[in-house]
């Protein structure tokens, strides 16, 4: 055990985590040149394209240092606030963490919140100043920032470049020298933490775990403490670039487990694995049943594809336990599903995976958070509102509560004004303002979660010229004044476009929704009125003017091909639209409310 080191990497998006991880794998000969490709650990295409890590990954490296062979387990974590629970579990599985900070961009909010998590878990932090080779690097200033934050010595900060490989050897040495070896009792009852699971269509769900005490053997009868389910360990092993089966994985080490489980939702990240016959008395602390934060309807563009969508969603759920869905129906869109997501990125990922992996074109309706409503009749009974249509009639409504979050925003001092205005516009209340350095300020707000869903990120980016980072965590529900704003197209209510809004914003946003829809819905051969309404009262109106001219006057020489292709493209575009009444609505119109300020 003394030669094992378990560590994770804390970094902001784009600060070079994946590239640096690639270099570590190369230097320890975990991968050969032949296997080399960028962002090796990010196995999903989506992760590579977006340059983000969505799933946790683990990989074991071996490194000989001063004549001894060390086992280094790297647990790579997702880098987005939607997945902060997964990050916390990965951190709990480690003794140390590399804190990677971009030498040009310095520390960001996401980094800080994950760093605090690591410090709370008593992790040894190795600060690394990455991308020092960039012309825009500002090592002195960023070093000061890190020293301020960690209270460490400037000498403890390793200068590195994932691109050139500079400093990578020093990082490996520091991992061995500074991160403590795991502690644990091999002879105690098995106690292992599940930090992730991955679906494999041939082998079922693979569970990734860290053993704290005891050991887990092939064939062992095991039990998951939180779910209470028991299984036999069909296979256990070590995660190199590929899986290497072993007879057992002992206390201190990291590995994978295959039990024949077929659905990811059976496995809960954060759960404890123990022996079924000789169970541990202590569950690993920090387990939570993750709850979805954002809800939206997902519908097939073509109503006939409902069953296919269902089967695609079920397959997706096999490898994404955090996706939840129940069937629902909409007067406008027919049959579909109300789905719960961890956040907006998660929603986008699901939508994209449905398109890419299952070739399903879907309509996603306006997302909303989960409200609690109470009626006058039963003022103590919670009615869960995950869909605007679930909101009871205003006359019967006693009160509504909406989820709030504590937001942390780090920005440059020059953008404090605009950031504050934005947060106040978003019904935020400032609770703290801390100058981290003379240049960098951390602002804390209590805000309604729903305001984050509605175009918050994009606007934060705009008002801060990109120099603001953002993190949040939920702080419970508070009473609020909500109304449902309905949208009518050509006089017909389109329930899928309804949104729950705060009373004070309803008129303004209702108007903006109408304007946005006017731009997004293609003109047709008749005028289309767009109205926003609260109950029977119309609060805004726009008109899509009828198409007057839709003909290329000249049919080009003999170039029939070009025109045919143009019209074919138009026809294909129409096929991806949804007809409600006699109005053709493109996919993106249903999400229009989210991008009102574009």
């Amino acid at each position: 055990m003394k030669n094992i080191r378990n560590f994770s990497i804390i970094a902001h998006i784009d600060h070079g985590k994946s590239t640096l991880a690639d270099r570590l794998l190369e230097l320890t000969n975990t991968i050969t040149n032949r296997e080399k490709q960028d962002q090796l650990l990010d196995t999903m295409d989506l992760e590579r394209e977006r340059g983000i890590t969505i799933k946790s990954h683990a990989v074991q490296m071996e490194y000989t240092y001063k004549g001894e062979v060390y086992i280094l387990n790297l647990i790579d974590t997702p880098g987005h606030v939607d997945f902060s629970y997964e990050v916390s579990r990965s951190i709990a599985a480690c003794e140390g963490a590399l804190l990677i900070v971009d030498a040009a961009q310095s520390i960001q909010a996401q980094t800080i919140s994950n760093l605090y998590l690591a410090l709370e878990n008593d992790l040894e932090i190795i600060p690394i100043l990455n991308k020092v080779d960039l012309p825009s690097a500002n090592p002195e200033e960023v070093t000061d920032d890190i020293v301020d934050l960690l209270g460490c010595d400037p000498e403890e900060i390793i200068h590195a470049s994932g691109k050139t490989g500079f400093g990578v050897e020093e990082i490996l040495e520091a991992i061995i020298e500074r991160i403590p070896a795991p502690k644990g009792d091999v002879n105690a009852p098995l106690q292992a933490l599940i930090f992730d699971s991955v679906y494999n269509s041939y082998r079922g769900v693979e569970t990734y775990f860290r053993v704290f005490n005891g050991d887990i053997k092939k064939g062992q009868h095991i039990k998951f403490v939180a779910t209470g389910n028991d299984y036999f360990a069909d296979e256990v092993g070590t995660l190199k670039l590929n899986q290497i089966p072993r007879k057992s994985i002992k206390a201190g080490d990291v590995g994978y487990l295959i039990t024949g489980i077929k659905t990811a939702s059976e496995i809960k990240v954060g759960d404890t694995i123990t022996d079924a016959d000789n169970p541990t008395k202590n569950m690993v602390e920090g387990f939570e049943d993750v709850k979805p934060m954002v809800f939206a309807g997902i519908y097939p563009v073509d109503t006939e594809d409902y069953e296919e969508l269902r089967s695609s969603m079920e397959k997706l759920k096999l490898n994404d336990a955090s996706l939840v869905f129940v069937p629902e129906s909409s007067a406008a869109l027919g049959f579909g599903f109300r789905c719960g997501f961890l956040g907006m990125l998660h929603l986008e990922i699901i939508q994209e995976r449905l398109e890419r992996e299952f070739d399903m074109t879907v309509i996603t309706t306006v997302p909303n958070v989960s409200y609690h409503a109470f009626t006058n009749k039963k003022p103590n009974e919670i009615i869960l509102v995950n869909n605007p249509s679930d909101l009871p009639e205003p006359s019967t409504l006693n009160r509504v509560e909406e989820p709030f979050i504590k937001a942390s925003i780090i920005t440059k001092s020059e953008f404090v004004g605009p950031v504050m205005s934005l947060c106040i516009e978003k019904r935020g209340e400032i609770t703290h303002q801390t100058y981290l350095t003379t240049e960098r300020v951390e602002l804390n707000f209590d805000m309604p979660l729903s305001e984050i869903v509605f175009d918050f990120y994009d606007r934060l980016k705009t008002v801060s010229k990109g120099y603001a980072s953002f993190d949040y965590h939920p702080i419970g529900l508070r009473e609020s004044k909500l109304v449902r704003v309905d949208i009518l197209l050509n006089g017909q209510l389109v329930d899928a476009l309804s949104a729950l809004l705060h009373t004070d914003n309803a008129y303004g946003i209702g108007k903006k929704i109408c304007e946005k829809l006017r731009k997004l819905i293609p003109r047709q051969q008749f005028d289309i009125p767009i109205q926003a309404a609260i109950g029977a009262k119309i609060i805004a109106r726009e008109t899509i003017k009828a198409l007057r001219k839709d003909v290329t006057a000249k049919c080009y020489g003999g170039d029939i091909t070009r025109k045919r292709k143009l019209l074919e493209k138009q026809k294909k575009g129409k096929k991806r639209m949804r007809q409600v009444g006699n109005v053709q609505i493109p996919q993106q119109a249903f999400m229009a409310v989210l991008k009102l300020n574009d």
Binding site: D550, V551, K554, G557, G558, T561, R564, L567, K571
Partner: protein, 374 residues
């Protein structure tokens, strides 16, 4: 029945709205004409039927000297079977049509002129960056009418600041001069043209489609009064003066496109030459055709039949659809047309699916709706 299109890729200056292929540098004109002659020889076995139409388009074919034109006509006659009385059209710009040039042209086998008048008003012509002025437009047309019987002019409407009155005036000038055929189309913003750029930068106003629609209506009404038949959305001809060459495009006949950027159709595939003068000349000099080919699928052929048929007075023959594509496709077409038939935007008459007056200005979207795509 087959046709030959010959593309002359040169202009004196670029009209702001044009996205056809041309060069304003005349340096390689001689080489180009030789290359076009060579391509005509290289492809002499491609046409199965007799040549009934020959069309010099561009660019500005009237930039060519009589000798150059005669050279190309001779090559066609030496290498292809041309019928007794072919239609041979030359696109010409008014500033090229001097009295002398017109007389020389009339002495060749060219028997139809397509004159790029566009407008009889100077401010419109300047707006479009045409080479000629209003005076040249009228003068050349008068002269041409004297020497040629079969003449068509191009007129553009929907030009910003062109009032309905001025558009009527434009048309009336043409009617008074007794032009037998008019091709008239709405000013259109094509990508990568100066016009698109000017509008984007705010230097030119955006086009007003309500204005274009009013002009179209005036065009349809006025030309009808003067006994023109609108045999295609943008083409108006008196009895006996329809363009045979262009009609062959719309009726799915075979044609050979010679010269850079020219398109050909042989009933199975469409092909087109490279839109680059230097690459075209180089390739032809090596006896290679610089072309891309697209083999048409069943859907492609169906969609083209819809697209072109809908634009013409002959419509889409349902019997022909059934013969060529089968009864299921015919029924699908009728089914897809239902809504339009109900709204009197389409009609079926004598077994033909036709666009009504009401639908004409929306023909593209209607065609797209009737398409079959995977």
């Amino acid at each position: 029945m087959s046709g030959i299109y010959i593309h002359i890729p040169f202009c004196k200056q670029a009209c702001y709205y044009c996205d056809f292929h041309f060069s304003v540098s005349l340096k390689r004109k001689e080489e180009m004409i030789k290359a076009i002659g060579m391509e005509l020889q290289l492809r002499k076995d491609e046409l199965k039927n007799n040549v009934e139409t020959i069309y010099f388009g561009g660019g500005t074919p009237s930039l060519l000297t009589i000798d150059e034109l005669q050279f190309l006509i001779d090559i066609v006659y030496q290498n292809y079977k041309v019928i007794e009385d072919p239609e041979i059209t030359l696109e010409a710009n008014p500033d090229d049509l001097t009295e002398e040039k017109i007389k020389e042209l009339a002495a060749t086998k060219i028997n139809r002129l397509s004159i790029g008048v566009q407008s009889f008003f100077d401010d419109d012509l300047q707006f479009m960056n045409r080479v000629h002025n209003a005076k040249e437009a009228k003068g050349s047309l008068l002269m041409a009418m004297y020497h040629f019987d079969n003449i068509t002019i191009d007129l553009i409407y929907g030009v910003p600041k062109m009032t309905n009155e001025k558009w009527r005036n434009n048309l009336n000038i043409a009617f008074e001069m007794d032009v037998p055929h008019i091709s008239s189309y709405a000013l259109t913003v094509e990508n990568r043209t100066a016009l698109a750029n000017f509008i984007r930068k705010g230097k030119y106003p955006a086009l007003d489609e309500d204005l274009a629609q009013q002009h179209f209506k005036i065009l349809v009404e006025e030309s009808r009064k003067h006994h023109f038949i609108q045999y295609e959305i943008s083409n108006f001809g008196k009895e006996g003066y329809f363009s045979k060459h262009n009609t062959s495009y719309w009726q799915g006949r075979n044609y050979l496109g010679i010269g850079p950027s020219a398109h050909s159709y042989d009933g199975i595939s469409r092909s087109w030459n490279v839109s680059n003068n230097a690459r075209y000349i180089k390739s032809i000099q090596q006896n290679k055709l610089p072309q891309e080919i697209e083999i048409l699928t069943i859907n492609d052929r169906f969609n083209e039949t819809i697209m072109t048929g809908l634009r013409t007075i002959w419509g889409i023959s349902l019997q022909k659809i059934e013969n060529d594509f089968g009864p299921d496709i015919k029924n699908e077409l009728i089914e897809n047309a239902q809504e339009y038939l109900k709204n009197k935007i389409l009609k079926i008459k004598d077994g033909k699916l036709l666009i009504t007056e009401k639908g004409k200005f929306l023909a593209d979207g209607i065609a797209a709706d009737l398409f079959i795509v995977n």
